[in-house]
Each structure stands twice: as C-alpha cells, then as structure tokens.
Amino acid sequence: MKVNKVYSYALLIPAGLIYGLLFLYPTIMSFFFSFTRWTLTDWEWIGFENFIMFFEESSLMIGFKNTFIFAFLTAGLKVVLGLILAVILTSQLKTKRFIRSTVFFPVLVSTIAVGIAFSVLMHPSEGLINQTLGLFGINGPNWLGNPSLAIYSVAFVDVWKGVGIATVIFIAGMMSIPKDYYEAHQIDGGNKLNAFWYITLPLSRPAINAVIILALIGGLRTFDLVWAMTGGGPGFSSDLIASIIYKQYQAGFYGLSTAGNVILFIMVAVIVFPIFKFLNRREVDL
C-alpha cells in the first residue's frame, strides 16, 4: 500500500493541538474527575460514589422523564411542522422569500432573550397570550406556573425557535430533488399529494434524518431555554437532566456534576447512535 504522501503529517499538528487541548483533554479529564470529590483545587478519589449519589437524586426521575418528553416531542414537531413549512415555501408562493426569513428569524435570536420574552408573554393574567385568549372568552392556563404544563410550554417555545433550522434544511433537501421526477409524475397524471408522498418525502430522507438527529441531540441536552423560563420549576417539575447537573455545579458539587455530565454523554450516545444507524439504513440514494 503505497500512498502518495504529498503533505507531511506535521501539518496536522495545529489542528491536532486545538482538538486535543480543547476537546480531547477536557473529555478525558472529566471522566477522571467524575470519580473524585473535587473542589477545583483539590481532589480525592472516591470511586463510583458520585454516580451512585447522582442516581439517588430524588428529582432525577422527573429529569429523565422530562428530558425524553422534551427531546422526542420537539424533534417530532420540528420534523412535521418543518416539512409542512418547507413544502409551502418551495411552492410558487409570491411572498415566499419574506416568509422564509420570518420563519428563520427566531433562530437568530439569543435563547435566553427568547426565554425571557416568552415568560412575560405567558404570564397567567398580564401575558399577551392569555389576554388574547381572553378576548375569545377562553380562560388561559398558567403556562409556566402549572407543574404539569410547564415542560410542554417550554417545548412549544423550543419548537417555535428551532423550526426555522429544520425548515431551511428541508428546503435545501427539496431543492436538490431533480425536476425530472416531478415531470414524469405529471405525465403519469399524479396529483400533488401523490407527488409529495412518493417523490418529495422519500427523496428528502437525508434531510429528514439530519433534522431528527440534530433535534434529538439538541433536545436531550437542552438547558438554556428551560433555565431562562422556569429554572426547572415550579419546584422540580420541569427539571431536565442538564438543569439538575447545573444546580449541582452551582452548589459546588464539582465531582458530582461532572459525573452527571458523563452520564448525560453516555445517555445521548446510547439513544442517538442506534437511531442514527437505523435512519441511515433506510436512506434512499438519489
């Protein structure tokens, strides 16, 4: 095996250094520190105690449940709504450029700002949402104050904010479908629904997969939006794994929260990797 070596491996060093220093080294260290009682200046090896303690956390079950609800709900909604929007926005609509920008705009805004804005909008009596509902005689719920509703309200905002990315990926996917298929379909006398079902959908598969994976990973490790809107509350009712870890970090339990991060890392890998494999198997080549 003779490879024509044009560039020296030494050229990899700068990239290798950056990758090693900023990604590899912290990752390895975090695995190490998750087994210690750590005060940032001092550490003591305590074996699996942090992991045991993390799993004993009383709000952990709520955290797991909420994380799954949040990840799968937002990923699902982003795919469905993103597809619908993408189909509309690839049609012959006159204002489609304007609408495309409007749909994408929330993606550009800081998550914290969105969270604060929506927590004002969702105020039970003075918020715009419930006042608007009031005009129609509907008594709006306490979106963020009701423990069983809070996580869904946050998920809704996350979809509003994230659907723009999904839409853009879908649009790109649909634009790359050759027109020949649609022409053939037209000659065969198929209707619009058929065209979507038999041409657009199967051929957008790579885009759909990308969106599902991105949205799932994003959802599983969401933190900022929940923290800005509810802080995991009321009580622990909208806690996610990530917010539990953050609270432990805040309390100065550095070893414990690092152990939590390792668990989160493993969890995301265990969930996403099989899905990724499964989705890729079903991809259709253009």
């Binding site: 290798g16 009682r37 004993e56 509350g233 100065g252």
Partner: protein, 446 residues
Amino acid sequence: MKRLTKKHILFTFMALLLLLLAACGGDDSNNESSDAAGNEEGTEEENPETTLTFLIDNQTVTDGIDAVAAEIEEKYNIKTKFEMRPGGTEGDNIVKTRLATGEMTDLMWYNSGSLFKALNPQEYFLDLSGEAYMDRLTDEFKEAVSVGDAVYGIPGEASSAGGWLYNKKVYEELGLEVPKTWDELMANNEAIKEAGKVPVVASYKDTWTSQLVLLADYYNVYSNNPDFANQFTNNEAKFADTPIALRGFEKLHELQEAGYYNDEESATGYNDALEMLANGEAAHYPMLTFALAAIADTYPDAIEDIGFFGQPGDDPEDHGMTQWLPGSIYVNKDSENVEAAKQWMEYFISDEGLETYMSVMKANGPYVVEGVELPDDAYPAVKDMTAYLEEGKVGPALEFLTPLKGPNLEQITVETGLGLITPEEAAEKYDRDVERQAKQLDLEGW
C-alpha cells in the same frame, strides 16, 4: 510507513503534553511576578503613607466603608485600596486560594459564622480579642467570629433579620394587632382575607424568597433546643424527626392550605411582592430586612408604613426574631502593615467611624455594637426589631451555626408552598439534600 505514523502520533501527544505543562507553568510565574512587582511598589515608596489592601466582594454596598476609609486616609495617612472579588461560592474559592498561597490582602471582608469558621481562621487571621473595642460588640456577634478564645473580626455593616414585613396601614384599617403566636397570625390572615386583601405574598418566581418562612422560623427551634445546629451538623438531628424544626415546613404548608397566598405565586417575583406590600394590596411578606432598602428606594412614601415582626411560635411569652449577622472585616496575620490595619479597624468601629458610616448608609437592622443607637431616621421596621434585641429574644439563623444548607432548599420550599408535597415529604427531601451536601463536603459523621 506504519511505524512512522505511530511515531508521529506519539510525538503529537508529547508536544501536546509539553505545551500543557508550559501553559500551566507560565500562568503561575506570571501571576507571581506581577504580584511581586505590586508589593515592591508599595514598600519602595518613601513617604510615610501606608496603603492597606482590602479584598471585598462586589455585591456588598461599599458606600459606608468608602466614606470611613476616606476619613482614615485624612486622619492617619492610611490609604485603602479595594480589590474586588465575586460573591457566592466562586468568591469563596478565591478567598481560600489566596489564603492558602499567602497572597491575602491586609484587610478582608467575609461572612461571619460557619463560612468564616470553615476558613481555618487560627492560621490566617489576627486575634483581636485583646483590643479595647471588643467589649462593645455583642456576644452573639463575637461568637460568630471566634474560634476558642480568639476573636477575629469586627462587624462591617448592620445586622439584618428574617421575619415578616407587614403593612401597618392594613393593620390599622382592620384593627389588627401584631401577633405573638402563630395562631394569632393565622387569625389575622383570616381577617385580612375576608377584607379582600392578600394576607401573605408568595413570590415563587424568585425561588429563593420561598425559603423565608422556614429560615425565619429558626428562632423557635433555637429557643426550644439551642444545640439543634450542632446535632444537625453532626448528623444527629434531622428536620423530619425533630417536630419543632418540622414546624417551619408545616407553617409554609398551612398558609397554602388556608388559601392565604396570592394567586399566580409562580409568576410573582420579589419586586412584584415589594410593590404589593408597599401599596397595601397585600398585608404580609416574609422576607429579610434588606428588602427595606429596596422599598425605600422604589416606594419612598410607603417605607413609613412598613413594620416588622419575627415569625411567631406557639408561646406568646417567647416571641423572638431570627437574626442574620453582618459580614465582617478581618486582619491578615501575616500582613506587613498589621499596625496600620489595627488602627484602621479601631477607627472603623469607633463612634466617629460609625457615625460617618451611618450618615451614608441606612441600616437594615440594629448594629451589633453596644451603645450605638439607631439614628432617629431609621426605618420604622428596623426600630421594631430593636424591641426583640432589648428583650434578648434573638437567635441567629441556622446558616450561621452550621456549614450545611442543602442547595435544593428553595425548590423544596416552593413545592411545599404550592401544596405539591406534604411538609413531611419536604422535610425528608431536604434531609436527603443536606446529606448529599455533607458527603460532598466530606464532613465527619456522615
């Protein structure tokens, strides 16, 4: 070919490691050299002027200290150079690191109580117990800054208290009297509710405010069993199986069960609560008295109508308040300017110094210096507090007596206040939270 690759990878890793080491080393030496340079400048100056460095967190209002420091400079030619640090646990880490590496400033501002005692004061701070002004400080305060017979600090501000702020106008209108027992307080609440006002504000949007009913109840625990804090620290007493301690959670729950809280608790914030209290929409707000400064600032007309009482227990003869001790100033034992620092402290705590301090800062509570009267223009609520002090019915808050305070307490008290869990469940949950903290702190006996 293959070998070469491996070699290169190895080389890359070695280079990486070297770089890491170099980076760490470089940092340290930089720090040292810049610090050394700073010190030299101070000592090399030939004029008799001394400069004291003072490490303080950036959340404490320093107007009063600034004013006194300016006077000290004028009188004794001692300059004060402030160094800022963050507050909270991040600040703790800075303080601990600087103490451990011998780079502490001459003077230092820090909490009193358990946080201070956790610093291992014998090693780092100057014992002030021989100073003449020590007799003027109250025993509770001295206890909070002492280890053994040595006393290390002087109060840097007035004390504050946790209890119930109430609107005096509402009380007058409804002909109510300040309650001496929990039952009387609940009866007042009932009357207020019937009059169509909010009896108690719950501001759970700012979750930390939810803890006050529990924390301010500590006087009742303290007077029942002064040793609770010790037993709590040593894993011998728990909230769940100490009835008097459990009462705090129960009170939180009783208020909820009786419907005495405002609507929309979780959408109401600290500032909303102050507004409701100030304009008489609500009658009570369980809070720390530092809120008085905020009320005076935003609703200057209302501050005269705001009063204070400690959270009552069951015995009308034993109605006291839970006190939050002031932050303190300590002297670095290894400072080169110990004499100047002592002079600084002496002036700060002298009548003149305090007068200057008080002319700039309004107190959130009584001073812990004996013989220092509150000025006549003190907030009425602060004057209400002095009655408890005069009767000696004061207990420090639990956090001044133990290093343990579970980080999830505010979420647990929100859950209790919203009626999501029972007081017993809350106490058990909190005990578990504390247990985890004790284990992470590696305390003995856990």
